[in-house]
């Protein structure tokens, strides 16, 4: 059965879409090559070997935390639904499936990265190299099963309302650490920047402290590294064997856990998933203005942001990330940077709203067949975004400016205004241009279902909104004069963006709306790209 499932997965890879997989393969192999080059330099003594441990730890961290950072993404290629009807014991089926999980881009690029252990151990002779190869494979085994188990647990959690909140909190923590985690480090390097003093504290980065490398080697992500190093140094079986046995034992336990979770899922009778919550949570948003086309769309959007599971996770994470960032910054020497959290909130708001058309899916037929509705749809989405993300980001910047009296407060408010305008107008545009098509809205009950991966759109809008946030401050500084010059620039930029971008979005929807609907009905964004090529 394992062989049959392997063949099925290979066929699915061959016949399925290749874009995302191809990108991951190329990007992953480039990163893996960098780690291998680092290991080669370390083996020659040109670089401290502890940096290889850091790289391997970060790589392993991606396996463990990746599924949490992407709560919408279901990595399984062979659908459980296809297999549920076969008269096979769930445990046997899950066990056979488990081996097919080793086939994929992730394991391939990880084994390329872990080959750095062999390079690192090579100076110890062929035996050390062979042991390092075993250590690399054992490390891969552990990482794959750690990642799969976390993904299975996350998918199970996301079926509950508490799980949705948990996923949003995890995403927010990771985003806050990613975007503000550097602030304490920067504050340590430039402690007096708030007073305009750019004196740099220079740390020594050439050699990692032994305590750090020892700690990394004791983490499960570093056991392979520890075994390879022990083999290279001829430390004997007492140092080599325990990490290898630990890798295989913990990996086997995790694989068993995954098999148990999958067998449990296969045992459940096929039925449409039902949300474990009241049907329409809370009172519906009723507005006295509901009868104009734009306010009807605003009411629909507000309800959808609050009730759609995929949008709900995004909304919560976008709302939670700025306060967490503020918390990190407040406890550093750079408290004066707090108002900048306002523009950052607009950036996050824009990032989580880049895929709304794909999330609403084939419901687009209604605006397409209603006279004048496309214009109302674009304006309504923008207005709802302004209510949920734009105005709060502006208020946050102003409140933190008032609370801290920061010298960058004016620039922060101007930046928040410009960023909010660009996010407000840019998110619907990107949602039309770069839809990450997944399961249709009618087929999604919880966020773990394939809702499309909007990373491309998010990575596109991020620098654009960030640039808009920075631009008024920079141009104001270059122009000189009083602080209101920067705010004036922000107002001008916002007005221009809000005037031009929605017109462009509307034109695109009028020209490509039916192709977008086709793409969502067929769940293939390539349909949209083909129509664009055909039109041009």
């Amino acid at each position: 059965m394992t062989r049959t499932l392997f063949a099925l997965k290979l066929r699915l890879f061959r016949n399925g879409p290749h874009n995302e997989r191809g990108f991951s393969l190329v990007a992953g192999l480039v990163l893996a090559a960098l780690v291998v080059v680092g290991a080669r330099l370390a083996a020659r003594g040109a670089m401290h070997e502890g940096w290889v441990a850091v790289a391997v730890t970060v790589w392993g961290g991606m396996w463990v935390f990746g599924p949490l950072a992407q709560p919408r993404h279901d990595p399984s290629v062979i659908s459980r639904e296809w297999l549920r009807g076969y008269p096979l014991r769930p445990w046997r089926l899950a066990r056979a499936l488990s081996w097919t999980e080793l086939l994929g881009v992730g394991p391939l690029i990880t084994v390329a990265c872990l080959s750095s252990l062999v390079v690192l151990a090579a100076p110890g002779g062929p035996a050390a190299g062979a042991i390092a190869a075993v250590a690399a494979l054992a490390q891969l085994y552990l990482l794959v099963w750690a990642g799969k188990t976390v993904a299975a647990l996350a998918a199970w959690l996301l079926r509950t309302r508490a799980g949705m909140t948990l996923a949003a909190v995890q995403t927010a923590v990771m985003l806050a650490l990613s975007f503000a985690g550097w602030v304490p480090v920067a504050a340590w390097l430039l402690p007096q920047l708030g007073e305009g003093d750019t004196a740099l504290v220079t740390p020594a980065l050439g050699r990692l402290p032994a305590s750090v490398t020892d700690l990394l080697a004791t983490l499960p992500t570093g056991w392979g590294y520890a075994a390879a190093l022990a083999a290279r140094d001829g430390a004997g079986p007492g140092a080599v064997v325990p990490p290898l046995v630990a890798l295989l034992a913990v990996g086997a336990l995790l694989q068993l856990g995954w098999i148990a979770l999958t067998a449990r899922a296969l045992r459940r009778p096929p039925r449409p998933p039902r949300p474990r919550r009241p049907a329409a949570p809370g009172r519906p948003p009723v507005s006295p203005l509901t009868m104009t086309p734009v306010s009807a769309v605003v009411a629909r959007e507000l309800a959808t942001w609050l009730r759609d599971p995929a949008r709900g996770v995004e909304l919560r994470s976008a709302w939670l990330t700025p306060p967490l960032m503020a918390l990190i910054i407040a406890f550093s020497e750079w408290w004066w940077a707090l108002p900048l959290v306002g523009p950052a909130a607009a950036v996050f708001g824009a990032m989580v709203a880049t895929n709304t058309y794909a999330l609403d899916g084939t419901a687009l037929w209604q605006p397409l067949t209603t006279p004048g509705a496309l214009k109302a749809d674009v304006r309504g989405r923008m207005a709802a975004w302004a209510v949920l993300f734009g105005l709060p980001s502006l208020a946050l910047a102003a409140a933190l400016w008032a609370a801290t009296g920061s010298p960058v407060g004016g620039a922060a408010v101007g930046g928040a205004l410009a960023a909010a305008a660009v996010g407000c107008a840019g998110a619907p545009l990107l949602a039309v241009v770069m839809p990450a098509v997944g399961a249709d809205a009618r087929d999604r009950i919880h966020p773990g279902q394939r809702a499309g991966d909007p990373t491309g759109g998010q990575m596109t809008i991020f620098p654009v909104v960030l640039l808009a946030a920075v631009l008024p401050g920079v141009l104001g500084g270059v122009a000189g004069g009083p602080r209101w010059v920067g705010v004036l620039i922000a107002v001008g930029l916002s007005a221009a963006v809000l005037a031009v971008t929605p017109v462009l979005t509307l034109r695109l929807l009028q020209r490509r709306g039916t192709a977008l609907l086709d793409a969502m009905a067929s769940r293939d964004a390539a349909v949209l790209r083909a129509s664009t090529r055909g039109a041009s």
Binding site: R274, P275, P278, A279, A280, P284, T290, M291, T292, P293, S295, A296, V297, A299, R300, A303, T304, R307, D308, D360, G361, T362, A363, W365, Q366, P367, L368, T369, T370, P371, G372, A373, A376, D440, A441, R442, R444, I445, T514, L517, D518, A521
Partner: protein
């Protein structure tokens, strides 16, 4: 006011290609106002493709479509204003309740306050008022068909375009939908629908087009098309059904 002789829907030489596949091959239909019109055909015949083009959800490769005298290509907004659409397998604003979806649709179309009475009637007759807090995403197939029909009727369109309105729904839901459609046609509305339910088409439609391979095989009043047999028998004759050889292993 347009002359009553203007067809409710006029399709002239409609052709639809998908790459090398010819899905619809120069189909022409002229549907008079106040007609209950059925389009029947085997799977892949081009029924849904034709209806999708009629309601403006697909740009045809060639040919023209006119709704109550308004060309869909040159006067799109005026043509769309005449239409009520119910397509199979598409989403709605899924996180709204039935009342909220109708309110949204009324707002989107800028309807006057009369929509509230019509919405209340439709929800009651179609049995959707029994689940006022249920979101559309949680609806069964039959409930989806009903809310789609309510949406299509809310603005009192002159033409209803329905794709497989009775596909995969229970007889009770089908009966409710059938009653509403009869009232609509009796009131002067035009229904253009595709269906596999020959019994329903024979019972309700005044005219029918049998489509296969992207072409109209025969079109006319149902009695003439049936030509003395049942519509189902005539359909199988027209479309052709391969004989099924006995499968010994089934014995």
């Amino acid at each position: 006011m347009r002359a009553p002789s203007v067809p409710a829907v006029e399709v002239v030489d409609l052709t639809q290609r998908f790459g090398s596949v010819l899905a619809v091959d120069r189909i022409s239909l002229s549907i008079p106002p106040g007609t209950f019109y059925g389009i029947v055909g085997p799977n892949g015949a081009g029924k849904t493709t034709t209806l999708t083009a009629v309601c403006g959800l697909r740009e045809p490769t060639s040919g023209s479509i006119t709704i109550a005298g308004h060309d869909l290509r040159t006067a799109r907004e005026a043509a769309l204003a005449q239409l009520g659409v119910m397509m199979d397998g598409l989403s709605l604003p899924e996180r709204l309740t039935a009342t909220e979806v109708l309110r949204y649709s009324a707002g989107l179309r800028g309807l006057d306050d009369g929509w509230r009475k019509r919405a209340g009637d439709l929800l009651e007759i179609l049995g959707l008022d029994a689940v006022p807090r249920t979101l559309v995403v949680e609806y069964s197939t039959g409930m989806r068909k009903k809310i789609n029909l309510a949406l299509a009727l809310l603005h009192r369109p002159r033409v209803l375009v329905l794709d497989e309105p009775f596909e995969a729904i229970d007889p009770v839901s089908a009966h409710a939908i059938e009653q509403v459609l009869r009232q609509y046609v009796d009131g002067g509305g035009t229904v253009v629908m595709s269906s596999h339910i020959m019994d329903f088409v024979e019972r309700n439609c005044r005219r029918v087009a049998v489509v296969a391979g992207g072409r109209v095989l025969v079109e006319g009043p149902v009695e003439e098309v049936a030509a003395g047999a049942t519509l189902n028998e005539r359909f199988v004759d027209l479309v052709g059904a391969d004989p099924v050889r006995p499968l010994e292993w089934l014995a």
